[in-house]
Structures are given as structure tokens and as C-alpha cells.
Symmetry: C2
Amino acid sequence: MSDAAIADPVGKRERTKVANRQAILAAARRVFAQLGYEAATVRDIIRGTDLASGTFYNYFRSKEEVFEALADDGARRFKPLLRAAREQARSFTEYLNGAFRAYFQFIVEDNALEGRPIEERRPHVRLDTPEMMAVYQEVRQGLEAAIARGAAPRVDADYLACACIGIAQEVGSAMLRRAPADIVAAAEFAAGLILKGLDGAPRKS
Amino acid sequence: MSDAAIADPVGKRERTKVANRQAILAAARRVFAQLGYEAATVRDIIRGTDLASGTFYNYFRSKEEVFEALADDGARRFKPLLRAAREQARSFTEYLNGAFRAYFQFIVEDNALEGRPIEERRPHVRLDTPEMMAVYQEVRQGLEAAIARGAAPRVDADYLACACIGIAQEVGSAMLRRAPADIVAAAEFAAGLILKGLDGAPRKS
DNA sequence: CAGGAAATTGACGCAACGTCATTATTGTGC
DNA sequence: GCACAATAATGACGTTGCGTCAATTTCCTG
């Protein structure tokens, strides 16, 4: 068989452990989408797998921790895209545009699952997981690099990174509410705003 | 007696109803600050008042609803400040600066309570309560008015409002993490960024 | 002041939680 | 291969917090 593809965990122990963890995360994703985060229970999640209730606690301490793991996974998947946008860009303008596009593309795909409205899927938990911090760092480093080589003015990089993230989140949410989501337009708006402020944002057609 | 000060609810029924509601909200504020939002239970909150557990459910359906009421209260208190910033401003630049200052001032005061780190006090969540929507509307109307009279370019007002809110939230959080919080500097950064993009943001000292 | 409307109370049944002794599975040394 | 240790899965169980509701208290009204 072509199990060579997944060569990393050799022993059966290791393999089922990874598989179980993934099964729980997949079930949680479905359950959150269907019942909403608040209404979902640990039992609902574990029922979505072929595991017993006690087994859940071998992998996560709580529903919150499962959500954090999902968020962490998302951040882990997204970070390389952001890095790629940075490396492929030939200018600061291109970098910003590419980064915003990558994010908007990402959230469109991530919210493709059918079920309850997006707001109810999200939890009442904090999202400052390690991988989320890493994304912030990547954003900040990208901006600091641009500042260092003179491609951007010497502004407060922390505030700037936060502003970019805030814009991405809020404009991204607004974009998702529209049908159909226009990723390119949203990215141009966000990047234009950062670069030149209101004068740089696209005029409304 | 000088009950003339609070003349609105005349009957004792009405008065205790308002008082109880306020007591629950005040207790919830304390409990969320002390235990963190997730760890807090309805019982913890009600224990912070001199009411019985059942009484809680005469006022709120759940812990979540209490939090929403707190958020709603905040939004209700904040909206007039935003409106005032709009009416007092003599230019669009002044409006933006005043609005951001008002918000940053507001969150500084709102987070003055001692206790757990701010992130654990509240769900890091998009709260679409009625009063929150009203704040969004106020922001949007302020921006649309500026666009209408030519003080700002004709950009997508929805996206712009979302971008302003996103910047306010994220830069505001970053500001709170710093000691001491410099409201004026943060507002200048945010307003400068909106107005002229990176070129408009203050250079780092 | 009587009678009724409205709010408060806390005990109760229930649902979900998290634990843990037991059982099953996998890895290891001979 | 087999025995034995190490590790993980299981689900029943005690615990905790939830939301309800009949009984009780408080307030209003005529």
C-alpha cells in the first residue's frame, strides 16, 4: 500500500493517537457548525466520533481547548500563506495586496461548511493561542522588514500590525456577509487604505 | 426624603426591578473580572448579590445574556460620545481624531477594574447586539456624511466603517497592553492611518 | 385593609461534567 | 511467538451547575 505518504508516525500507537485527535477536531468542526459553539457539548463532539466519552479527556481538557486547537490549526495553515505573500511580493504594495487576498481567500474557504450562522460557531473564548501569536509576529516582521528597507515609513510597527489585523478581520467579516464575496475588491480596499489612507482606497463604482 | 433625584420609576416594584437588574450586572462585572468569563457561573454571579438563584432567571436567560447586556450598556453609553465627537468636529480630521480618542478613553475607563487579565474577562467575540449595531450605524453615518459633503472620497462606506472599527479595536487592545496607555498617541496613529495611510501615521519617535 | 397581581425564593430533577478503576491494545525483551 | 509492561480506551459514577416551579413574600389597587 502507499502508506509511504504518511511516513511520520511509525508505530500504531502514534498513528491512532494522531487519528483520534483529528477525528475529534473534525467532529468538533461539524458540531460547532451545526449546533453553534455555545449549545455544543463535549458529549455532542465525542458522539460524532467512534470514541468513548472518557477518551475525549485524553486529548483535550475542555470544549474551549478543542476550539483553541481548531483556531491554532487554522493559524498554522495560514501562516505559510502569509509568508509566501511576503516572499513573492516585488514591492510593499504587492505584499499588502497579496497578504490581504490570502487572508480573505482563507476565511472564505474556512467558512464554507454548511450549518448555523458564522457568529454562532464562534466561541466565547480568547484566541491568543501560540499559533495566533505567530501569525501576529509574521505580520509584524513583514511590516518591519518593509520599514527597515525604506519601503514604508518608520511608524509604530506594533500598532501598524494591529491595525492591519483589525482591518483584515472586520473588512473580512463584512465581505463574507455580502453575496458573492469579492476577495479582490476587499483586498484592494484594505491595501489601498493602509498605503494611502482614504485617497488610496478604491472609489465606489 | 430626597427620592426626587431618581424620579423616573415611581412604584417600589419598578424601582427594585431596576435595582436588581443593576445589582446583577454589577456583580457579573466583578465576577467576570475576578474569575474570568469562562470560569464564571450563574451561581457565582447571583452569590454576588443578595438575591436567590431563581431570581436571576427573572432578569436574564443565561450568563451569555448577562454579558450581552453589559456590552449593550457599554455601547449605549459610548454612542452619545461618538455623536458628540461628530457634532463638535470642525473638520473630518478633527472628527476622526475625536472619535478615536473618545473610544480609547472609553475602553481605558471600562477596563479599570482590578482582577484577571482583560482577555479572560470577556469573550473575544463579535457581539452583534442592538446597541452594538447602533454604534456601527453611527460610525457609518458619520463617515457617509463626510463623504456626502465632499470632506472624504467616495469610498465604500460599509468597508470603511468596518475598517475604522477594526483599527479601533485592535489598536485599542494594543494600547491597553502598554503601560501607561497613551490615548492621544493611539488616536493620532489611527486617524492618521485612515486619512493618509502610512504617510499620515505618526513617525515613531 | 382585603384581595389579587407580581416578584422572590430555594429545593428539585436533569444534563453535562470530569474522574478513575477496569479492560483492551500495543510495544518490548527473551 | 510469548509473557509482561506500558499505554490508551472505556463507560459508570459522583459532582456540579443548570433552569424550573410550587410555595411564599411583597407590593399595588380599590
